[in-house]
Amino acid sequence: MRPGTPGILWTVVRRDLLLALRRKSEVLTSLFFFVIVVSLFPLGIGPEMSLLRIIAPGVLWVAALLAAMLSLNRLFATDHADGTLEQMLLAPAPLGLLVTGKIIAHWLVAGLPLVLIAPLLGLQYDLAPHALGVLMLSLLIGTPLLSLLGAIGAALTLGVRGGGVLLSLLTLPLYIPALIFGAGAVEADISGLGATGHLSLLAALLALSAFFAPWAATAALRVALE
């Protein structure tokens, strides 16, 4: 490993976090989207506790998918527009490392807040304390997966006109396994089956995509910027 290689990863993470701090409205948009979408269901359905308990995992997870996707199109697009992405390509460091840094920053900004606020929202659905813990854990494993897979979509649609819609069409199918195992974990816990199986599968998916997604996103970026 060349000297300063981990330093470059850290530079990119810090840079994107600093940018997120200066553009608070963009960060808060996806968080509020999550909060509002999740809160609309109990209001629309009414205080039917047994029904709410059943739909809770699915609703929370679908809302998390959509919220994570809201901020995806900015992952590379703003850097592409102002020329900083080109400079990253020219940096004497592996591009995959820089992309990984951007994915980590995206998760910290768009994924982690969802994990932290999810238990509060789960209360509206009358979830038991243990189920709330499983919900948090499933989101903690699942949201990095969303950032990783989303980065591939964001890189593929970079510079494409109407890329935002295309990005959703491309990314949402990739999110299906995360949704199944994530929501499945909470459902299994509620019905007393134990969430371990689902969570292990989710973690396996995370490990797999942590290995392949930065590589795929990097390859897509190179093509997009040629």
Binding site: I8, A81, E86, Q87, L90, A93, L98
Partner: protein, 205 residues
């Protein structure tokens, strides 16, 4: 030494140029001119390795740039049409990030001093979006002041600069040549740069 042989560029179904070649020696200076859309930026991006040429090859010290990879990227500095600045960050933060990406560290004091030399004294902690177009260009050009790259690839570096800044930049480029560096630049303004073996390359169909 930078050598390009038989380069061709195709955009869509239009051939922008073909059979293009040149050799740039240490201390040399290549001045690329041509009409709008004649492929100047495309050529510069090729020379940086950002896009592969349709045919031909580019060699640095006798070795193709694709094989050199990071070793070549260490040697070049590219300044494109865009300033590659984040509008929300200050001039100083932008510089420090640009430095960190090349693997160097830039202390605050050093960065402030460099920005002063670029005529941006007192504006180093202002978000870049509050700066004028010319000042933004100056921030971007400050990268030249501490760069250790030996090949500078500059796309329209003089755009948006006032006449004092044009002279200042021409001086910096001349110093770079005196130290054995090379420059490839495009410009619609004729700017005299002292020293260095200057070559002209006119792109036309």
């Amino acid at each position: 030494m930078l050598t390009a042989t038989n380069l061709a560029c195709i955009r869509g179904d239009r051939r922008l140029f073909a059979g293009l070649g040149f050799t740039l020696e240490s201390g040399g200076h290549l001045y690329v001119t041509g009409e709008n859309g004649s492929g100047k930026t495309s050529l510069l991006r090729m020379l940086c390795g950002l896009s592969p040429p349709e045919t031909g090859e580019i060699r640095w010290q006798g070795e193709t740039i694709t094989r050199l990879g990071d070793d070549y990227r260490k040697k070049i500095l590219y300044l494109g049409h865009q300033n590659a600045l984040k509008e929300e960050l200050t001039a100083l933060e932008n510089l420090r990030i640009a430095a960190a990406l090349t693997g160097a560290t830039l202390e605050d004091a050093e960065g402030t001093e460099l920005l002063e030399r670029s005529g941006l004294a007192g504006r180093e902690s202002l978000p870049v979006r509050f700066l004028s177009q010319g000042q933004k260009r100056r921030v971007a050009l400050t990268r030249l002041l501490w760069s250790r790259a030996s090949l500078w690839v500059l796309d329209e570096p003089f755009v948006a600069l006032d006449s004092a800044a044009v002279t200042w930049l021409a001086g910096i480029i001349a110093m770079h040549h005196a130290a054995g560096g090379m420059t490839v630049l495009t410009s619609h303004q004729a700017v005299a740069i002292k020293g260095g073996a200057a070559q002209n390359l006119r792109l036309s169909e």
